[in-house]
C-alpha cells in the first residue's frame, strides 16, 4: 500500500515517515511567520498532531504537502491570534548590521508596534509577502484563498500600516 494510503488508514509507521520527511519544511514555514525558533518547534509538533488527528479526512489522492502547509498556516495563525506578534529581535544582531541614529531606531520601533497591531490575517500576508518575499500564489495556496484575495490583504495591510504610522507621528 502507498505511504499516503497507509497514513490515511491510521498507520503510525506511515505517519512517522511523513513526519520525518516533512518536519523541516513545516518548521521552516512556521518560523518565518512566528519568528521564534522555540515557538516554531512547538507549533511544528502541534501541526503534525492536528495532521494525525485528521488522518481519516485526508484523501490519499490529494497533495499531502499542500494540505500540510495549510494546516501549518492555520496553526501559526492561531498562534498569532493568541499572542501579539511583537517579538523582540535580538538587538545585538540588528545593531551589528546597521549603525543606527535615534530617528531610525524610533521609526523601526513604531513600525514594529504598528505591525503588531495589524489583524493576524493581514499580518501573516504582510509578513510572508513583504518580509520573506513569498509570491502571492504561494501565500494564497497556504491560506486557501485566491491570489487576488492575497493581494487585497497585502494592500489593506500596507494601507493600515501607513495609517497607524502616521497616527503615531512617523511619516513613512
Amino acid at each position: 500500500m502507498e505511504l499516503l494510503q497507509r497514513f490515511a488508514a491510521g498507520d503510525l509507521d506511515a505517519f512517522e515517515s511523513l513526519f520525518r520527511q516533512y518536519q523541516r519544511d513545516v518548521y521552516r514555514w512556521i518560523v518565518r511567520i512566528v519568528r521564534d525558533p522555540s515557538v516554531a518547534e512547538d507549533l511544528t509538533v502541534e501541526t503534525f498532531w492536528r495532521v494525525h488527528k485528521a488522518h481519516a479526512r485526508f484523501d490519499p489522492e490529494a497533495k499531502f504537502a499542500s494540505w500540510l502547509r495549510r494546516i501549518a498556516t492555520n496553526v501559526a495563525l492561531d498562534h498569532l491570534r493568541r499572542r501579539p506578534a511583537y517579538v523582540e529581535l535580538p538587538e545585538d544582531l540588528a545593531a551589528e548590521q546597521r549603525p543606527d541614529c535615534a530617528v531610525q531606531q524610533e521609526t523601526r520601533m513604531a513600525l514594529r508596534r504598528a505591525f503588531a497591531e495589524l489583524p493576524p490575517k493581514l499580518r501573516l500576508v504582510a509578513q510572508l509577502g513583504s518580509i520573506e518575499d513569498d509570491t502571492y500564489s504561494e501565500i494564497a495556496e497556504a491560506l486557501g484563498i485566491s491570489a487576488a484575495a492575497a493581494r487585497v490583504r497585502m494592500f489593506r495591510a500596507v494601507r493600515l500600516l501607513r495609517k497607524k504610522l502616521q497616527k503615531s507621528g512617523v511619516h513613512p
Binding site: 503510525l12 512517522e16 513526519f19 520525518r20 518536519q23 523541516r24 518548521y27 521552516r28 518560523v31 518565518r32 519568528r35 525558533p37 518547534e41 511544528t44 509538533v45 503534525f48 498532531w49 494525525h52 529581535l89 544582531l93 540588528a94 548590521q97 546597521r98 531610525q104 521609526t107 523601526r108 513600525l111 514594529r112 505591525f115 504582510a126 509578513q127 513583504s130 518580509i131 520573506e132 518575499d133 487576488a148 493581494r151 487585497v152 497585502m154 494592500f155 500596507v158 500600516l161 501607513r162 513613512p172
Partner: protein, 124 residues
C-alpha cells in the same frame, strides 16, 4: 440599448450612473491590482523596505530558519500522552470551553427552573 438608456433616464441620472460605474470599476481594479498604480507601487516598496529593516527576513539573519533537532521524540511523547489520558483529561483537553459553558448554563437552568426540563428535552 443606448437609445433606451437615453429615453428612460434623465441626463443627471445617466451621468450619476456613469460615475458610479466608473467608481465601481476603479474600486474593482484597485482591489485586483493593488500595487499597479505608480504611486501605490512606490508606497508598497517604501513600506516593504522599512518592514524588512524592522524585521530582517529570518533566512538572512542566521541559522534559525533551519530545524536543529529531530522533533519525532516530542511528537511520540504527545501521541503516547494522548493514549494514556483518562477520559476526564481527554474531555478537558478536547472539549472546547464554550461547550462546557453551555453545559453549565443548561445545568443551572435545570437546577433552578425544573419546569424547563420538558422544553430542553424537546430541543435535544
Amino acid at each position: 440599448m443606448t437609445e433606451r438608456w437615453d429615453k428612460d433616464m434623465s441626463a443627471k441620472e445617466y451621468k450619476n450612473g456613469m460615475a458610479k460605474g466608473r467608481r465601481e470599476a476603479s474600486a474593482e481594479h484597485a482591489a485586483q491590482n493593488p500595487a499597479e498604480r505608480p504611486d501605490e507601487k512606490a508606497e508598497f516598496s517604501e513600506i516593504r523596505g522599512k518592514l524588512r529593516d524592522a524585521f530582517p527576513p529570518i533566512g538572512e539573519l542566521d541559522d534559525r530558519a533551519e530545524l536543529r533537532r529531530d522533533l519525532w521524540p516530542e511528537m511520540l511523547r504527545r501521541l503516547e500522552q494522548s493514549r494514556g489520558l483518562s477520559w476526564r483529561e481527554v474531555a478537558l483537553r478536547e472539549v472546547p470551553w464554550f461547550d462546557w459553558a453551555l453545559l453549565a448554563v443548561s445545568g443551572a437552568a435545570v437546577l433552578f427552573f425544573p419546569a424547563l426540563i420538558p422544553a430542553l428535552l424537546y430541543h435535544l
